[in-house]
C-alpha cells in the first residue's frame, strides 16, 4: 500500500513546486536521470575549459587575457558545484571522473570542435555561452534542490561570459577587413554546432517527457532552440555578420525565425566520439588527472602526517 502511494506523493510534491532534497524519497529513475544529467553537465564545464585554454597565452591584450582567465576559472568552479550536487545523490566523485576518462560518460559535443582563431573566443562567448545560459536559466527552477541552487550560482556568474564574447566580436568588427573576415569565419564554423547544443528534435528525444513531468526540464529542446535563434538573429544584425543559414528568415505569422535543417548525422557522429577533437579533449583530461596524481598523494600523506603530529602534541 505504502509503495503505491509514495510515488504519487512524490509527484504531488513536484506538482506543488516543492523542491526535492537529498534525503527525501525519490524514484530510482529520477535519481538516475539526475546523476546522468548533472554529471554530464559537470563534465561539460570541465572539458569546456580546454578549447579556451588554447588561447590564454595568445590573448591580444592584458584586459582580454584577465577576462578569459576569469571565465575559465569560473568554468572550473561551475564544474565543482555540479559534481558536489551530483554527489548528494549518492554517486562518488571518483566514479564520475573515471566515467569521463574512460569515455563512458558524455559531455557537451560543442567542445569537440577546435578553436582556430581569436575570433573563436568571441564566438564561443556569444553563441556557446549564450546557448548554455538559455538552457540553464530554466534549470534554476529544477525540482531537485541542490541542482537548482548550483544553477542559480552558475547563471549569476555566467552573464559576464556572454558579454565578454560579444564585446570581443564587436571590437573585431570595427577593425580591419581581415579581422571582419575572421569573425564571419568563426560564426560559419560555430553556428550549426551551437544550435545543436539544445539536443535532438523533440520527437527524437525520448527522455524529455518524463523529465518535463518531474520538472527537471521546463522547456523542450525545440522551444529553447527557437528562442535562442530568435534572440541571436537580432544580435547578428547589430554585429553586422551573416548567419550561415540561407533558410533563416523571419516568419511574421509564427512570430519566430524559420531556419534550416540541422545535420543530425554530424551531431550523432560527434556524440559517438568521432568529432574533430574528441580524442584530444579526453586525452588532455586523462593526462591532467594522471600528472596530478603525485600532488593528490602528497597532499593526503601530508594531511595524515599533520594529523598524527597534532595528536602526539595533544
Amino acid at each position: 500500500m505504502k509503495d503505491i502511494n509514495i510515488e504519487d506523493q512524490f509527484q504531488a510534491k513536484i506538482d506543488a513546486e516543492i523542491k526535492i532534497e537529498p534525503k527525501d524519497w525519490m524514484p530510482d529513475e529520477y535519481r538516475k536521470t539526475l546523476i546522468r544529467q548533472i554529471s554530464q553537465h559537470a563534465h561539460s564545464e570541465i572539458v569546456g575549459m580546454l578549447p579556451e585554454g588554447n588561447w590564454i597565452t595568445r590573448a591580444p591584450t592584458l584586459r582580454r587575457k584577465a577576462a578569459l582567465l576569469a571565465k575559465i576559472q569560473d568554468e572550473a568552479g561551475h564544474g565543482l558545484y555540479l559534481y558536489s550536487a551530483a554527489e548528494t545523490l549518492g554517486v562518488a566523485r571518483i566514479d564520475m571522473l573515471n566515467d569521463l576518462h574512460s569515455g563512458k560518460a558524455k559531455y557537451s559535443s560543442i567542445f569537440n570542435y577546435p578553436t582556430l582563431t581569436w575570433a573563436d573566443m568571441g564566438t564561443i562567448g556569444w553563441l556557446v555561452d549564450g546557448a548554455a545560459i538559455m538552457n540553464q536559466i530554466p534549470l534554476c527552477r529544477c525540482s531537485y534542490g541542490p541542482y537548482s541552487r548550483a544553477m542559480i550560482r552558475v547563471c549569476k556568474e555566467e552573464s559576464f561570459h556572454q558579454r565578454q564574447g560579444y564585446e570581443i566580436l564587436l571590437t573585431m568588427m570595427k577593425g580591419t577587413d581581415a579581422q571582419k573576415r575572421m569573425v564571419q569565419d568563426a560564426l560559419n564554423r560555430w553556428w550549426w554546432p551551437a544550435i545543436s547544443m539544445f539536443g535532438p528534435n523533440d520527437a527524437e528525444s525520448p527522455h524529455s517527457k518524463q523529465s518535463m513531468a518531474w520538472k527537471i526540464k521546463r522547456f523542450s529542446n525545440d522551444d529553447l532552440r527557437q528562442k535562442f535563434i530568435d534572440v541571436t538573429a537580432e544580435q547578428a544584425k547589430i554585429l553586422g555578420v551573416t548567419i550561415p543559414d540561407p533558410e533563416l528568415k523571419w516568419n511574421e505569422e509564427r512570430g519566430h525565425y524559420d531556419f534550416g535543417q540541422i545535420n543530425w548525422d554530424e551531431f550523432w557522429e560527434v556524440v559517438k566520439g568521432n568529432g574533430p577533437c574528441n580524442r584530444e579533449r579526453l586525452e588532455a583530461r586523462r593526462q591532467a588527472w594522471e600528472e596530478g596524481a603525485w600532488v593528490r598523494e602528497a597532499a593526503t600523506v601530508y594531511a595524515e602526517k599533520k594529523a598524527r603530529k597534532n595528536q602526539e602534541a595533544a
Binding site: 534525503k23 527525501d24 568552479g77 565543482l80 558536489s84 566523485r93 548550483a150 598523494e297 593526503t300
Partner: protein, 93 residues
C-alpha cells in the same frame, strides 16, 4: 589512493551576518578545504569568513521524521504576537 574527504562550506558574507551553507568540496585537510573554498565559493567577494566541517560530522534530521519533529509547533499560535487582542489606540507594542 584514498579519496580526499568531503567538506561542507559555510560563508559569512559580511560582518554581522550568520555563516550560511554555500556548498561542499573535497580536500585533504581543513586548511586545504578553506583555501579551496576561497577559490570555489568566493570569487566575487561573497565572503569575509569561511567555516569548513567534514561532511561525515554533520548529523541531519530525517525527512520521514519531519512530522513528529515539527508538528508540536503547529498548534501554538500563542507564541506569535498576533494571538493577543489589544485595543487599537495602543501604539508601539
Amino acid at each position: 589512493m584514498k579519496d580526499w574527504p568531503l567538506w561542507e562550506v559555510f560563508i559569512r558574507s559580511k560582518q554581522g551576518l550568520n555563516h550560511i551553507h554555500a556548498g561542499s568540496l573535497h580536500a585533504a585537510d581543513a586548511e586545504m578545504a578553506i583555501e579551496n573554498a576561497r577559490d570555489v565559493y568566493t570569487r566575487r567577494n561573497e565572503g569575509i569568513s569561511i567555516w569548513v566541517v567534514e561532511s561525515k560530522h554533520v548529523k541531519a534530521s530525517n525527512p520521514e521524521d519531519q512530522g513528529a519533529l515539527f508538528d508540536p509547533a503547529d498548534n501554538k499560535i500563542y507564541r506569535h504576537p498576533t494571538f493577543y487582542v489589544l485595543p487599537d489606540e495602543l501604539k508601539h507594542m
